[in-house]
C-alpha cells in the first residue's frame, strides 16, 4: 500500500531523515517507534506532503506520489491524524467530522460514514453539537480519529495519539484505535508509548536519529532486550 524508498527529508539545511525505507501493507497495523526528535513526525509529514522529500521516493498503491501536493494526497486517501489533534476549534464536533469527508471521493458517502463513525466512537455522537475547542484532550483525540475515518482513508497515519493524555484516557484512545484496526483499516501508528503501540501493531519499525535501526514483527520486538531497555525502562 505504502512504501518509502531511501527517503531523505528535513527543514532547510538540516536533514532529519537520512534515507528511510519503510513499508505498510494493506490491512496491516504498523507501528513506527522512537524517542523525541527521532524524526517520526517529519516522516509522517513527508508522506502527507506537508514537507517535501529531498531525495528518495514515496510510493502509494504502486504510484510515485513524491511530488503530489498535500491536498491531493488527502483526496486519494492518505490521511494523517496529526499530533496535537489539530481540530477546527470554533466548529462543532459534527462540522469537524464533515470536513473529514471533504474530498469528492469521501463526500458521496458522508451520511453512511458518519453513522459508522458514531457507532465506532459513540462519545462523538453524544457531543456532536459541542465546539471542538471546548472538549477535553481525550475527546479531542477521539474527534481527530473520527475525522480521519470520515475521509474513508486507504491508509490512516496516527501521529502520537496518546500525546499529552492522562493514562486512563490513553487506554480509551487505544481501545478506539484497536476497534478501528479491527474493521480492516491500514494504519501507520507513530508512537512514543512503545508498550501500547506494540500491543496493537502487527509489525514495527524503530526510528533513531533519522535512521531505521530495527524492524520486525511486533511480538518479536516486544521481547527484544535492547528495545526494552531503551524505551520501556525495564
Amino acid at each position: 500500500m505504502l512504501a518509502l524508498k531511501n527517503l531523505r527529508a528535513g527543514y532547510g539545511d538540516i536533514e532529519v531523515l537520512h534515507g528511510v525505507n519503510l513499508e505498510v501493507n494493506t490491512g496491516e497495523v504498523v507501528a513506527l517507534l522512537g524517542a523525541n526528535a527521532a524524526g517520526k513526525t517529519t516522516l509522517i509529514n513527508c508522506v502527507s506532503g506537508l514537507i517535501s522529500a529531498v531525495e528518495g521516493q514515496i510510493l502509494f498503491a504502486g504510484k510515485d506520489i513524491t511530488k503530489l501536493p498535500a491536498h491531493e494526497r488527502a483526496s486519494i486517501g492518505i490521511i494523517q491524524v496529526c499530533e496535537g489533534r489539530n481540530l477546527f476549534p470554533d466548529m462543532t464536533v459534527e462540522e469537524n467530522l464533515e470536513l473529514g469527508a471533504y474530498s469528492v471521493r469521501a463526500r458521496r458517502y458522508l451520511k453512511e460514514t458518519l453513522d459508522s463513525v458514531y457507532q465506532l466512537l459513540p462519545i462523538l455522537k453524544e457531543r456532536r453539537k459541542a465546539l471542538a475547542g471546548s472538549l477535553s484532550g481525550g475527546q479531542q483525540q477521539m474527534v481527530a480519529l473520527g475525522r480521519g475515518l470520515m475521509s474513508r482513508p486507504k491508509i490512516l497515519m496516527l501521529d502520537e495519539p496518546s500525546l499529552g493524555l492522562a493514562p486512563v484516557i490513553v487506554e480509551t484512545v487505544f481501545q478506539a484505535i484497536k476497534r478501528i484496526a479491527e474493521t480492516g483499516s491500514t494504519i501507520l501508528l507513530v508512537e512514543q508509548n512503545v508498550v501500547k503501540a506494540l500491543e496493537i501493531a502487527s509489525r514495527a519499525y524503530v526510528l533513531e536519529n533519522g535512521n531505521i535501526v530495527m524492524s520486525g514483527k511486533a511480538s518479536d520486538l516486544a521481547k527484544d532486550d535492547g528495545l526494552r531497555r531503551a524505551y520501556m525502562g525495564i
Binding site: A74, Q80, N86, F88, D90, M91
Partner: protein
Amino acid sequence: MDILVQVVISGILFGGIYALVSIGLTLIMGVMDIVNFAHGEYLMVALYTTYFLNQLWNVDPYVAAIAVIPLFFLFGLLSERVLIRPTLDKPAFVHVFVTLGLSIILQNLALLMFSGNFRSISVPYAQYSYEIFDILINYPRLVIFIVGILVAIGLHFFLHYTWVGKAIRATAQNKNAALLMGINVQKVYAITFAIGVSLVGLGGSLLMPIYSVYPTVGFQFVLVAFVAVVMGGLGSIKGAVIASFLIGLVETLSGFFIDPSVKQALYFTVFIMVLLFRPYGLFGKKTKVA
C-alpha cells in the same frame, strides 16, 4: 426628538456602506492573515467604474452593481494570483508593502487618468425619500442598508452551509489541518480574496448615487473599515457589521450635534473604549473565525 430619531436612522443606514467595505476586509484578514491596505482603492475603482458606466452608456448604478460584482470577483482573483500568492509565505511586512504599493499605484493611476476632480452622477432617485411617522428615509441609503444586511446574512449562510464556505472557515481556523482534509488552501485564499474584493466593489456601485469619486476617496472608508474590523474582532463578520453600524451612528450624531470635524475623534474614542474593555474586540476570540 424627531430630529434625533432622524439623525440616528440616517447614521445607521449609512453604516451599511461601512459594512460592505469591512466585511471583505475582515474576511481576508481572518482567513489569509493579510491586511489589505489596497481595500479602499478597490472601492475607488468600483466608484469610477460605476461612474463611467453611467456617463458613457447611461447605465444605472444599481444595474452597474450587477456587472461590478463578477467583474471585481475576477479582479480579486487576478490580484491574488499576481500580487498576494507569491508573497504568502513571506513575512508580514512584505504583505504590507505589496498591498500598500498597490494602493499607491491605483491612486496615482486614477489621478493620471481622471485628474483629481470630484465627479458625481445625478440620478433622479438620489433625493427620493420615504416618509414614515415624519421620519424621512432616503432611498439610496435604504438600499445600501438593506444590501449590507443581506450580504452579511448571505455570507453567514454561505460560510456555514456550503462546502466552499466550510473550507474557508476551516482554513481560517487551522491551515495545516485544512490541507490534511484535502482542502486546496491556495484556492480557498483566491476565492476569499475575490469575495472580499467583489463586496467592496458592490459597495462602490451602491455608494455612487449619493457620493463623489476622486482618487483618494477610498481612504476615509477604509479607515472606518479598519476601525470596524478591529472593534468587531478580527475575522468576525458579525462584529464588523455591528461595529460598522455603530460607527455610522456615532459619526452622524457627532456631525450633527457637535461638529462634522470631530466625528473621527469621536468614533476613535468609542473604538478605544471598546478595546479597553474587550481587547479582542466585540466578538473577537484569540483564535480567528471567519
